[in-house]
C-alpha cells in the first residue's frame, strides 16, 4: 500500500496479527433474494456481543434481479458511519462478483459461491470458496425455499470465520422470525451447516475477529423512519396523509403499525387518529393543511419529488399561517434521480419552497434519537409558529439500522400554540384580528372552527390583519414584514446547534444530519493522523441561530460538509449570514448516492489545507474507492 496506514487500522499491518472489532463486511446479493433476514441476523449478533455496529443497505430501485449490497461495520471505538474500504466480502451475486473482487484492496477476504471461481481473479486476496447449493440441498428439502435459506449459510460461515457466537445468531434469528418454529428450525439448520462446513473445510488465513465487548449494553437498533414514527405518535398526531415514495414510505407504514397497536381508544376501541393514503402528494399536504387548520396535529412524509408537488400548498401554509409537519426523507435527484440512494439535496429547494417570498423552518436530525425528538419538536414549532415545518431526514438515516440509547419519554407538555379561547378573548377583546400581531413576536392568535370563537376566512390571496381580502399595497407589505418578523422569532426557538469548540483550532467544521457520524470520525482522523485540530458546529435547524455566525467568526476557515453537489447549506449560510465572513467558508461535498464516509471528509480537508496532494478526480478511481464508482444500469 502506498498511502500511510490510518491510525485506527495499524493493527492490520501484519495480516497474521488479529484485527479485532474493527472492520467492514459487505454482502453482495441479488435484489429480491431474501438476504435481508440473514444480514440483520449478522448485524444484530455482532451488536448483541457488545460491539458497536452499523448496517447500511445499498440497494437498487428494483424489486428483483439487480445487485444489492449490505455493508456492516463493526468498530470498537464506536464509529458508525460507512467505512469506505471493504475488508470482508461475501460474494453471492454472479453479476457483481467479479467487479466486487477486483475492487478490493490487497489482503482482504472473499467468501464466495464456489462455482463463481473468483479465486482465479487475484492472487493477493484471501479466498474462501463455499459450495452453497450443495450445503443448502442437504438442509432444505423444499427446493423453493433454498434460495432464501442459502443466505443463512453465509451467516454460519461467517460465524465460524469471524468468531461470531452462534448462540447470538440464534437469538437474533428468533428476533427476526418470532414465533415461527418451522422457519426457525430450517434457518438454524442452515446456520449450523454453514458453520460446520467452515470449521471442517476452511483454514483461517485472515486477521478479522469479533470478540465480546460491553459497548452496546442497553442500546437499541432502529431505523430513523421508525424513530420518527414513534415521535409522531408521542407528539399526539391525529391526522396523517401520505403517498408512497421511497425512502419515505416506511415512516407512515411503521406509524400505522404503532397507532393501531397503541392509539385505539381504550373504552370504545375506536381510532384516535385518521391515516389516509392520499391520491398524490398534493392531496397529502392539502389534507394536512385542512386538518391543521381545523385544529388537528397533522403530518405527511415524502421525498424530493413529493415536495415538488407540495410546493403550492407549502406556500399557502406559510402565507395563510396554517401549521403543518412534513418529513422529507431525502434521496438523490433531480427528477427520479437515484431513488434508493441517499443525499442531502433538498435544502435550498425546501428552505424557500413555493413562489413569492417564502421561508420555511427546517429541522435537521442527525441521529435516530433526533428523528424521534424532532418529530415532537416539529409539531410544537408548527403550532407555535403557525407555519409549515420540514424535518429533513435522508435515506441513510431513515432506512438504515442505527444503534442508539433508548429514547427518553417526553416530559414537556404539547405546545399547541396561540389558539384563542374565552379567557384570552376577554383579555384582548376587541383588538383581536386573525393576522394581528398582538404580542410583538409576529405570531398572531388563531381561532378553531367549532369552538364558538370568532370565525375568519382563510385565503391565500392578499389579506389584512382582520383576514379580509385586500390588494392594498400597505396591507400587503405590513403582512409580509410581519411574516419576516415571525421567522426571526423562529430563530430564537428552533433547536440550537451543538458546538464543540477547540480553542486552539483555526479550522471549523459545520455539518448536519446524517453527515454527523462521518464528520466526528474525520475529526479524529485529522487530529490523530495529521495533527490537525478542528472545532465542530452541528446545525440542527434552519433558520440559523446567532451561534452560527459566531462560530464562523471564531475560525479562519470553516468547512461546510454536506451531501449534495451545489453546496446548498453553504449557500444558505451565505444568504443569511454575515457577508464579511463569506470568504472563510469552504465546501466538502459528497454526492454519489452512497452514505458519506469519514475518509472522504478528512482527505478533502487535508487537500484543501495543502496537507495532502490533490486527487485527480477525472482519472480512474484509486483502488480504495471502487464502491463509489461503479455503475449498474
Amino acid at each position: 500500500m502506498s498511502t500511510p496506514l490510518p491510525a485506527a487500522e495499524t493493527e492490520r499491518a501484519d495480516a497474521r496479527s488479529q484485527v479485532v472489532n474493527d472492520f467492514s463486511i459487505q454482502v453482495a446479493t441479488v435484489n429480491g433474494s431474501g438476504s435481508q433476514t440473514a444480514n440483520l441476523v449478522l448485524l444484530r449478533s455482532i451488536f448483541q456481543m457488545g460491539v458497536p455496529v452499523s448496517g447500511k443497505n445499498l440497494f437498487p430501485s428494483n424489486i428483483a434481479g439487480l445487485p444489492t449490497w449490505y455493508t456492516i461495520r463493526a468498530n470498537h471505538r464506536g464509529y458508525i458511519s460507512r467505512k469506505k474500504e471493504i475488508d470482508f466480502l461475501v460474494a453471492m451475486n454472479p453479476e457483481s462478483a467479479k467487479e466486487d473482487v477486483v475492487s478490493l484492496e490487497p489482503g482482504r477476504v472473499v467468501v464466495y459461491d464456489e462455482p463463481l471461481k473468483l479465486n482465479a481473479l487475484r492472487n493477493d486476496l484471501v479466498f474462501y470458496p463455499v459450495p452453497f447449493d450443495k450445503i443448502v440441498a442437504e438442509v432444505c428439502s423444499d427446493a423453493k425455499l433454498r434460495r432464501l435459506v442459502k443466505n443463512m449459510i453465509y451467516d454460519g460461515v461467517l460465524s465460524e470465520l469471524l468468531s461470531i457466537e452462534i448462540g447470538e445468531m440464534e437469538k437474533a434469528l428468533a428476533k427476526q422470525l418470532g414465533k415461527k418454529p418451522k422457519a426457525m428450525a430450517l434457518n438454524m439448520g442452515a446456520l449450523e451447516a454453514g458453520k460446520k462446513f467452515a470449521a471442517e473445510h476452511l483454514e483461517k488465513r485472515h486477521p478479522y475477529r469479533i470478540t465480546r465487548m460491553n459497548k452496546t449494553a442497553g442500546q437499541i437498533l432502529v431505523e430513523g423512519n421508525a424513530a420518527a414514527a414513534m415521535g409522531c405518535m408521542f407528539a399526539g398526531v391525529t391526522v396523517v396523509a401520505w403517498y408512497p415514495i421511497t425512502p419515505s414510505s416506511s415512516l407512515p407504514e411503521t406509524l400505522i403499525g404503532y397507532m393501531r397497536k397503541y392509539r385505539m381508544d381504550r373504552e370504545t376501541g375506536k381510532a384516535t387518529f385518521a391515516i389516509v393514503q392520499a391520491e398524490d402528494e398534493i392531496a397529502a399536504l392539502g389534507m394536512v393543511v385542512g386538518a391543521s387548520w381545523a385544529g388537528a396535529r397533522a403530518m405527511t412524509s415524502t421525498s424530493g419529488p413529493g415536495i415538488s408537488l407540495m410546493s403550492e400548498f407549502a406556500g399557502l401554509a406559510y402565507y395563510a399561517e396554517v401549521p403543518a409537519v412534513v418529513f422529507d426523507i431525502q434521496r438523490v435527484g433531480p427528477s427520479t434521480g437515484l431513488p434508493t440512494r441517499t443525499a442531502q439535496g433538498d435544502l435550498l429547494f425546501v428552505a424557500v419552497n413555493s413562489h413569492g417570498d417564502t421561508r420555511h423552518v427546517m429541522l435537521l436530525p442527525a441521529s435516530v434519537q433526533e428523528c424521534y425528538e424532532m418529530a415532537m419538536e416539529a409539531f410544537d414549532l408548527a403550532e407555535r409558529l403557525q407555519t409549515i415545518v420540514f424535518v429533513m431526514s435522508d435515506l441513510d438515516l431513515g432506512m438504515n439500522t442505527w444503534m442508539a440509547r433508548p429514547f427518553p419519554y417526553p416530559e414537556a407538555p404539547l405546545d399547541r400554540g396561540k389558539v384563542l379561547d374565552e379567557a384570552k378573548l376577554r383579555e384582548i377583546n376587541a383588538s383581536w384580528g386573525r393576522y394581528k400581531d398582538i404580542d410583538g413576536d409576529g405570531i398572531p392568535w388563531r381561532t378553531l372552527p367549532g369552538t364558538n370563537m370568532p370565525a375568519f376566512f382563510t385565503r391565500g390571496s392578499g389579506h389584512n390583519e382582520m383576514a379580509v381580502y385586500t390588494e392594498r399595497a400597505d396591507d400587503y407589505v405590513r403582512n409580509v414584514d410581519r411574516l419576516a418578523r415571525k421567522f426571526d422569532t423562529a430563530r430564537t426557538i428552533v433547536p440550537a446547534p451543538v458546538v464543540d469548540r477547540d480553542a486552539t483550532a483555526k479550522i471549523g467544521l459545520i455539518a448536519f444530519g446524517s453527515s454527523h457520524w462521518a464528520v466526528e470520525e474525520a475529526r479524529d482522523q485529522l487530529r490523530e493522523e495529521s495533527g490537525l485540530r478542528t472545532s465542530y458546529l452541528r446545525l440542527r435547524a434552519y433558520p440559523f441561530t446567532p451561534a452560527v455566525d459566531e462560530f464562523i467568526r471564531q475560525h479562519d476557515r470553516v468547512y461546510v460538509v454536506e451531501q449534495n453537489r451545489d453546496a446548498q447549506m453553504l449557500s444558505l449560510l451565505l444568504m443569511d449570514g454575515e457577508a464579511q465572513f463569506a470568504n472563510r467558508l469552504r465546501s466538502v461535498l459528497h454526492y454519489n448516492g452512497l452514505p458519506i464516509d469519514a475518509r472522504s471528509v478528512s482527505d478533502d480537508i487535508l487537500e484543501q489545507e495543502g496537507l495532502r496532494p490533490a486527487r485527480h478526480k477525472d482519472t480512474a478511481p484509486p483502488a480504495n474507492q471502487p464502491q463509489d464508482q461503479r455503475t449498474y444500469e
Partner: protein, 346 residues
C-alpha cells in the same frame, strides 16, 4: 306604508334570523348565477336551522370559489388552492367530524385541475356538500372553455369547443358519491329542496348547479346561457323535502312518488315525471343522464341517492370526539408504551 306594524323578523328553530346566515357583499358580476346559488345556500341553512358556527366553508380557486365569502359569515371559511378543495375539506372533516362541511368549486376547478381530487373525494364518500357552480367556462381568466363545456358550444369570441364535456354527475355516481344532483341556479325552488336534502344527508352530496356566466358565456351559441339552460332544463320530477323537525304529513298517490328517508330522519319525496326514474338505481340514473344529454337537455333533480352508505369517517372508525380536541392523555400513550417499544428494539 308608514303606519304599517313592524313585523317580527322570521327566525328559525335556533331562534336565528336570516342575517346570521348572510355573508359579505358579493364581488361577482351583477346577475351571476353564483350569487343566486349563495342565496339558496343561505336560505337552506337558515330554514334547516343549522348553527352557522358548526359549518365549515371550503373552496378552491375561481369565481365560484370566491363565493363562500358571500354566505354564512359566522362560519370558518377556507379559500384554498386551485382544484384542491377536496383534500383540504378531507383534512378538515377528519379533524372535526362534528362540523357540517360545504365545499364550493367550479367546473374548471373540479373538471380540469382538480379532477383527480374530485375523483378520490367521491370514492371516499366524505361527509361534505360538494357544489360545482358550473358555467362551462373560466370566468376569472376571461372566458376560456372548461371541461364541462358542451361539444359545439360557441365562446364569446366565436371559437367553437371541439371536445366532449365531462358529466360530473355521471362521474360522481360511478365513483361512489351517495347523493348526486343537478340543478339550475335559476330554479329557486328545486335548488333549495336539493340543498336542504343535502344538508340532511350523511356522505358526499355532489350537486352540479348550472350557473350561467353573464359576462363570458351568455350569448347565442352557448349551451350554458340563461336562455339555453331555461329551454333545455328537464326536471326529473317535483322534489318535496320535509325536515325531520317539522311535523308535516304529505299524502301522495302510491306509485307516483318515491319517498326516501334521509339519515337524519327527514323525508324526501320525489314525484316522478319520467316513468322509470328510480333515484336508487345507479344504472338508471346514468341512463337518464345519457338520454337527456343526447337530446341536448339537462336532466335536473336528485339523480341518485343512497342514504345509508357508510361515509369516510365511519370507515376510518374514528372516535366520536373531534380528533382536533382530543386531550393529551388520549393522544400521547403512557411511558409504558415507549418502554415496550424500546424493549422490542434491544
Amino acid at each position: 306604508m308608514s303606519d304599517a306594524p313592524v313585523t317580527a323578523k322570521r327566525t328559525n328553530r335556533l331562534g336565528l334570523d336570516v342575517t346570521s346566515y348572510r355573508g359579505s357583499k358579493t364581488t361577482l358580476c351583477a346577475g351571476c348565477g353564483h350569487n343566486a346559488i349563495s342565496e339558496r345556500i343561505i336560505d337552506a341553512f337558515f330554514e334547516m336551522g343549522v348553527d352557522p358556527k358548526r359549518v365549515l366553508k371550503l373552496s378552491g380557486i375561481g369565481c365560484s370559489s370566491k363565493s363562500p365569502a358571500y354566505f354564512l359569515n359566522p362560519s370558518h371559511g377556507f379559500n384554498s388552492v386551485h382544484g384542491r378543495m377536496p383534500s383540504v375539506a378531507t383534512g378538515a372533516v377528519l379533524a372535526n367530524r362534528s362540523m357540517q362541511a360545504i365545499g364550493v368549486s367550479g367546473d374548471g376547478d373540479t373538471g380540469a385541475i382538480g379532477i383527480g381530487q374530485f375523483v378520490h373525494l367521491m370514492r371516499r364518500n366524505l361527509p361534505l356538500i360538494y357544489i360545482i357552480e358550473d358555467n362551462g367556462c373560466y370566468g376569472l381568466t376571461k372566458g376560456q372553455f372548461s371541461p364541462t363545456a358542451d361539444l359545439g358550444s360557441r365562446a364569446k369570441n366565436g371559437v367553437v369547443n371541439d371536445l366532449p364535456p365531462i358529466d360530473t354527475c355521471a362521474l360522481a355516481i360511478e365513483l361512489g358519491a351517495s347523493f348526486v344532483a343537478r340543478s339550475f341556479s335559476g330554479d329557486k325552488k328545486q335548488l333549495l329542496s336539493v340543498l336542504k336534502a343535502a344538508i340532511s344527508h350523511r356522505g358526499t352530496s355532489m350537486i352540479d348547479v348550472i350557473s350561467p356566466c353573464v359576462t363570458f358565456n351568455d350569448h347565442d351559441g352557448s349551451t350554458k346561457s340563461y336562455s339555453y339552460v331555461k329551454d333545455h332544463d328537464e326536471p326529473l320530477g317535483e322534489i318535496s323535502f320535509i325536515p325531520y323537525f317539522e311535523d308535516i304529513t304529505v299524502e301522495y298517490e302510491p306509485g307516483s312518488t318515491t319517498a326516501v328517508r334521509m339519515y337524519d330522519g327527514s323525508q324526501l319525496l320525489l314525484r316522478k315525471v319520467a316513468e322509470d326514474y328510480n333515484p336508487s338505481d345507479k344504472v338508471a340514473a346514468i341512463r337518464v343522464l345519457h338520454e337527456t344529454a343526447r337530446r341536448g337537455e339537462f336532466a335536473t333533480g336528485i339523480l341518485y341517492i343512497e342514504p345509508d352508505k357508510d361515509d369516510f369517517v365511519e370507515s376510518l372508525n374514528l372516535v366520536d370526539t373531534p380528533l382536533a380536541f382530543l386531550p393529551t392523555d388520549r393522544v400521547r400513550p403512557p411511558k409504558a408504551v415507549l418502554d415496550e417499544i424500546m424493549e422490542s428494539l434491544r
